[in-house]
C-alpha cells in the first residue's frame, strides 16, 4: 500500500489534472455533487457519499445525442481527456459498474455493436475511479444489505482510506495499479498506517445497523405480483421523480427534440417510471395507468428484473432516496414489507 501525506494531496490532484478530467464532490450550497474541477481546493470529500451521486458524470440529466438541421445530423466528436473520479464511495462505484452492464452492452445481444451506447462508452471506458472508504456512514446507509460495507473495495480502481488527513492508497484493478506506479508523490505506507486504516474500518462498520437478510428477495418478488401488499406499500407514494433522479442506478431516459425551424438537437433526458406519461401511448392507452403499478415496476426492476438480466440487484443501498422522499417512502420498509408478506393459500372459489 502507498501513502500520500496530507500536504502532498493537492500536488497529487495537480498531477492528475495534467492527464485527466478530474471529477470530485464539490459543495453546492449545503449539498455536494460531482463536478469537473480545475483546482484541488474545490474538492470537498467529507466522510461519506455526496448528496448527488456521480452517475451524473457519465450519464448527465440531459445529454445531446446529435444536432440536426436541414442538411442532416451532426455528432460532436471532440476528443476529451480520460475521466478520473475522485472521492467516490463504494455504493456509487458499484452503481457505475452496474450502469455499464446496461450502457456498455445489452443482456440479449452482447456482441452487437448497435447495442453499445457510444456516449457512455466514450466517457466510461477510459475512466479511473478512486473509491474512498466511508469513515462515518449514515443511519440511512444500507449497503451491507447487498453485501457491501463502508470499506468495501469491490469495483474500485484505486481504494483510498483517509487517516488523519493522510491518504492510504491501494491499487485494486490493473488499471488502478498501473496508475499508482506512475505517481511521484506517493511513499510506501507503514505498518502504523495500515493499523490506523484497520481501526477506522472497524469503527465505520460498527456504525452500520444490522442488515436485513435479502437472500430470498428475488424469489419472493417473483411470487407476489397479484398480492394486495402492493397497494398497501404504494399508497403513500405521490409518483414524483425525486427518488429516481437522485438514485445512482436508475437509468431510464426520454429522448426529446429541442429546437425549431428545422434546426435543433436531439437530447436524452432522465426519466422515471414513476411518471404516468412514461408508458402512456399515443392512443391514450396506458399499460401502467395507476400509482400502484408504477411503484411495483420500480421495485420489480430493482430487485427482480435486473437480477434476472444482469445477476445483481439494481440498488447498492446508498439510501439517498430515503433522504429525499417527500413522503418518507423508505425503500428498506418496502423490502421488509415484501419479505414479511405472507401469501394466503388460494381458497377454492365456490362455484
Amino acid at each position: 500500500m502507498l501513502k500520500v501525506k496530507k500536504d502532498k494531496i493537492n500536488g497529487l490532484i495537480g498531477e492528475f489534472l495534467k492527464d485527466y478530467l478530474v471529477f470530485a464532490p464539490v459543495k453546492d450550497g449545503s449539498r455536494s455533487k460531482f463536478k469537473k474541477i480545475t483546482d484541488p481546493a474545490e474538492i470537498s470529500t467529507g466522510t461519506v457519499k455526496s448528496e448527488r451521486s456521480p452517475k451524473d458524470v457519465f450519464f448527465p440529466q440531459s445529454e445531446v445525442l446529435f444536432e440536426y438541421d436541414t442538411n442532416g445530423v451532426r455528432i460532436s466528436d471532440n476528443e476529451e481527456k480520460p475521466y478520473l473520479l475522485w472521492g467516490v464511495r463504494n455504493c456509487d462505484t458499484k452503481s457505475i459498474r452496474m450502469l455499464d452492464k446496461v450502457f456498455g452492452n445489452a443482456h440479449q445481444a452482447p456482441d452487437k455493436d448497435m447495442y453499445k451506447d457510444p456516449y457512455w462508452k466514450k466517457k466510461y471506458d477510459t475512466s479511473v475511479i478512486f473509491n474512498f472508504a466511508c469513515t462515518a456512514p449514515l443511519s440511512t446507509c444500507f449497503c451491507n444489505w447487498f453485501g457491501g460495507g463502508p470499506f468495501d473495495e469491490t469495483g474500485s480502481d484505486v481504494f483510498v482510506v483517509e487517516t488523519d488527513g493522510d491518504l492510504i492508497l491501494k491499487g485494486v484493478s490493473e488499471k488502478g495499479k498501473a496508475l499508482l506506479e506512475k505517481l511521484s508523490v506517493t511513499i510506501e505506507a507503514e505498518k502504523k498506517d495500515e493499523e490506523l486504516a484497520e481501526t477506522a474500518k472497524k469503527k465505520a462498520e460498527e456504525m452500520m445497523s444490522k442488515p436485513t437478510d435479502i437472500s430470498n428477495l428475488f424469489e419472493k418478488l417473483s411470487t407476489v405480483w397479484n398480492e394486495p401488499v402492493w397497494q398497501k406499500l404504494a399508497a403513500k407514494c405521490v409518483n414524483c421523480g425525486a427518488c429516481a433522479f437522485i438514485c445512482p442506478t436508475c437509468h431510464c431516459f426520454d429522448v426529446s427534440d429541442e429546437g425549431k425551424n428545422g434546426r435543433g438537437k436531439r437530447v436524452r433526458l432522465w426519466d422515471s417510471c414513476m411518471f404516468p406519461i412514461f408508458t402512456m401511448e399515443a392512443s391514450g392507452h396506458n399499460p401502467r395507468g395507476n400509482s400502484t403499478q408504477r411503484v411495483k415496476q420500480r421495485v420489480m426492476h430493482k430487485f427482480n428484473y435486473f437480477m434476472e438480466n444482469y445477476g445483481s440487484h439494481l440498488c447498492t443501498g446508498c439510501g439517498r432516496c430515503i433522504v429525499v422522499c417527500p413522503v418518507n417512502f423508505d425503500i428498506r420498509e418496502v423490502i421488509k414489507g415484501i419479505l414479511d408478506h405472507k401469501i394466503k393459500e388460494k381458497v377454492q372459489a365456490d362455484v
Binding site: 449539498r31 405521490v238 414524483c240 421523480g241 406519461i277 395507476n290 400509482s291 417527500p326
Partner: protein, 321 residues
Amino acid sequence: MLQELKDTVKKILEEKKADIVIGWKKGTLPGIATPLFMEYPEDVGELIFDHTCRNNLTSYLTKDKRKLSKDHAKVGVIVKGCDARSVVLYAVENQVKRENVFIIGVHCEGMYEKKKLRAAAEGKEIFSVKSSGNIVTIKGRDLEKSVPEKEVLSDSCIYCRYPDAREYDVFIGEPRKEVDVPEEFSSVNEFEKKTAEERWEYITEEYSKCIRCYACRNVCPSCYCNECFVDQNNPQWIGKTPETTDSIIFHLIRNIHIAGRCVDCGSCVTACPVEIDLRIMNKKVEKEIRERFGYTAGLDINEKPAMATFCEHEKQDFIMS
C-alpha cells in the same frame, strides 16, 4: 390530545363515518412523519400528531386520478389549518364533494422544516429531534444542540394566520379561528425592496437548481390536473431539459396556475430535494391576490375563487403598467 385523536378516529372507523382515514405515523427519519392509511379501528395504534406531521394529506384525495376518492365512498383526513383549506378548495373547485370527506381538525403548533433542521445541525447527521416548551433539542452524531422552536419551524407555520381548521366535521380541542400575524408577508416585503434585476437574479438562481423531479407539483394539493402542461406534447409547451429557462417557465407557470389557490401548506418547500426557495413566489402571488381581490384561498366554501370571478371595480392597473 393524541389519545383523544386516536379515540375519535377509531370511533369514526367503527361507526363507518369514513371508510378510510389518513393520518401520520412516525417516519423512519428523525423529524419527519409519514402518511398512515387507516382502514380498521386497530390501525390507529401507530397514529401520531406532532411537529413532524408536515405533509398535507388532503392531496391524496386528488392524486392518481382521484383513485382514493373513487375507491372509497367517504375518506377521513386529519388536517391542520392549511390542509383544511385544501379540502375547501377541492369543494369550491368541484374536485371532491365536501360531504364525501370527513374532516378531523387538530390543533396545530407548527411543523418542522427539514431544511432548517439540517441547517441547525450544521450539516451533521441528526438522530433525534425533540420539542419541549419552545425549545427544540437536536441530537446527532457529535451533536447535541437546543434551539428556539422558531428557528426550525417552517416559514409557512411561523407566518400562519389560520393554524386550525375552520371547516371540519370534528375538531380535537378548541379551534382558533384566526391568529394575528403582523408580518405575514415579511419575506415578500423584503423581496419587493430589491430591484427588478436583483429579483430576477434571485429567482434565476433558485430555479436553476431544479432537477424537474416534480416533487413540488406532486405533493401540492392545488396541483391536481389530470395532465400537467409540462407533460403535454401535442403541442409541447415547454422544453423537457433541466435548463434554467425551461425550469423557470415550469415554476412561474405553476405559480400563476395556483394563484389564489395556494394555501401555503409548505409541502412543496419540504418536498424539494434540492432546497429551492419555492415559497417566495407563491407568497408574492398570494399577496397580490389578497390586495387586488380581497381573496384568501380555502376560507369560505361558498365563495367563488378569485380567478373564476370578475367584478367591474377590481383593480385593473396591471393592464396599463
